[in-house]
């Protein structure tokens, strides 16, 4: 039973889907927060993910070349997070803030321009070609392999996938603590529900905006680094490729619902991977080339039947 159905399904479809879902989820958190608190769809979000991964790569290379210390990507991500958050706050200060009282579509336009600026910057500095993030083939974790093989349910998970799933869980827990227990998190939820009401009840909206970029930037870099760990390489288009699934995840979960975005991300990630599983007969359900269209299809269906998302998010 396991050999014929389970082995292939779990190892080659379910676990990669889950990993992809985690990456989408982290990216979608930032999108849904900016959408609900600043009230615009931030097109530059994917590019910040991408530049975060490039910063991480640079930190790894620098530490290896200058000090001879090979860093784990997650350690090297620490300076990248600071840089990316700084970038988000600078971009907000100089490119988004001037439009805060204008019609929101101007900010969307500015963020669209920002997307191109950040990508061209990366292409000009690091070059347009692929870079190796982590060399070598990722071998499945021996302990899990032997343990599960002994009960005839062999599971092959490389260590990188453990890092990604565990990292996502930790970030999720931290985020839930931040949003429900701290003053700033409560403020973020308040601004998301009603900016005017939040303002009259004495919440400093500008600080909340900064906090949003902080959380969004952190999650974006985490997602970018996880994605680079998963692919083991860097590309300048990787952020743009993530953008649509992340929007789809944010809309699926409901705008302004960070946990909805997480569920949405997992659903989109799983749906993308499982859509190529041979459910009927021998061929895959849809041609693998169309895998990336799944997210868009789900998004369009949601926009038609329930634009407020699964968890009753905001509808603008």
């Amino acid at each position: 039973m396991w050999e014929t159905f389970g082995f292939e399904f779990v190892n080659f479809y379910l676990i990669p889907g889950l990993v992809l879902g985690c990456i989408y989820a982290l990216g979608a958190i930032g999108i849904t927060l900016t959408f609900s608190i600043l009230r615009f769809a931030n097109f530059a979000h994917g590019e910040v993910m991408m530049i975060g991964a490039y910063f991480t790569w640079t930190a790894m290379i620098l530490s290896n070349d200058l000090f001879g210390v090979p860093l784990h990507p997650l350690v090297a991500a620490a300076p990248a997070v600071i840089l990316a958050i700084g970038l988000f706050i600078l971009v907000d200060r100089y490119f988004y803030k001037p439009f805060r009282s204008a019609s929101t579509i101007r900010v969307v336009m500015a963020s669209f321009g920002m997307m191109l600026i950040i990508r061209s910057f990366v292409q000009a500095v690091w070059g347009p070609n692929q870079l190796t993030f982590v060399p070598g083939i990722a071998k499945p974790n021996e302990m899990v392999k032997n343990l599960t093989a002994s009960i005839d349910m062999m599971i092959l998970v490389p260590n990188k996938h453990f890092w990604i799933i565990a990292g996502t869980l930790i970030i999720m827990l931290a985020l839930s603590w931040l949003l429900t227990k701290t003053k700033i998190g409560k403020g973020m939820r308040a601004v998301s529900d009603s900016p005017e009401l939040a303002k009259v009840s004495g919440i400093d909206v500008e600080i909340i905006v900064k906090a949003t970029w902080f959380v969004g930037g952190f999650c974006a870099v985490a997602a970018g680094v996880f994605l680079a760990m998963d692919l083991q390489m860097l590309e300048t288009t990787m952020g743009f490729r993530m953008l649509l699934p992340m929007f789809a995840a944010a809309i699926l979960g409901g705008i302004g619902r960070p946990f909805g975005a997480v569920i949405g991300g997992l659903v989109i990630g799983l749906a993308e991977e499982l859509s190529v599983y041979p459910w009927f007969g021998n061929g895959s359900l849809i041609s693998p080339g169309y895998k990336t269209g799944v997210a868009f299809t789900i998004m369009v269906i949601m926009l038609v039947i329930r634009p407020s998302g699964l968890f009753k998010g905001r509808l603008f």
């Binding site: 101007r106 969307v108 669209f112 191109l116 070059g127 868009f296 634009p307």
Partner: protein, 361 residues
Amino acid sequence: MDMLIGYSLYGISLLTVGGIYAILALGLNIQWGYAGLFNVGIAGFAAIGAYTFALMTTAPSGYHFGGLDLPLPLAIACAMLLSGMVAFLIGIVCIRLRSDYLAISTIGIAEIIKLVLKNETELTNGPRGINKIPRVWEHLTEERFYTKAPMSWFSDAQGWDYFFDKLPIWWWQPFFCLTILLIVFIIYKLLEKAQQSPWGRMMTAIRENENAAHAAGKDVTRRRIEAFVIGAMVMGLAGAILSQHLRLIDPTNTFDPSKMTFLVWVMLIAGGSGNNRGAIFGAFLVWVIWSASEIFINSGLHIFGEMISNVDISLLKTRAGYLRMMIIGLLLQYILQKYPDGIMPESRPVQTGEKLKKGRV
């Protein structure tokens, strides 16, 4: 003399591509300038137009669908129609929602179109693209066109061959350019007419104050879909012409969604959204800057490479291209903040005053 011809041919090609971008900018102006619809899938609509035209006019080929041998104007009409149909489908889903959703959906549909073009290899030859797309005027020298009516009425194949052999090799370039400029002019005239008509004024009313227009009994959603579809049709037309200009199209490089879409946006915003003349002017201006800066940067790098011999300038060249893109992006941000109305701000048609005095309203 040869140099003079060379320079004027460069000028003509600048005008040709500038004209194609002007058509795209006019299409976007209907959507954004008239109706306030934020479309970032311009490359997608242009790709539909280009591929429709290419597949309907190319000679039979082992690599992709073809051999229909349709007359070129008919193929252009089909390109516009298909582009409009796709826009209609997106429109009925997204237009009732806020503009952000439309933006996300249009960027999505551009990706989906690219995906289809890449994957349907039987139909489109996939990532390798379509080659030898017939070009208006130049196609008259192709055998499969001059053996067909109405061309075959004028002369037999030998006479036809002889006639074109006498002409310089670039004879079609000015005609092609003039045709495009004529199309730009016709679209411009039609759009000006539309803007001053009740339809155009209603569009402005909807854009400026949706609720008031709705309260006045206007069917907001329907008008918006109309504007979106018409704009997309114009973009499909531009795509069909672009495929003729390039002769070789492929889904990834030709229709790089960000670059092509982005340039058109810069053109419209710089020229002045809502103003057709501004859209055309912006298109030519930005295209000339874009095209000329490439030449200047490359020749500058050449001089740099001559001075310092151990530098590989090919690397610098590609990097400089991206830097140029970044500067254009910053230019857009600057215009958006400082001159949101563009070089030629929108001017409202005269409604009262003189016309009222003359009793024409």
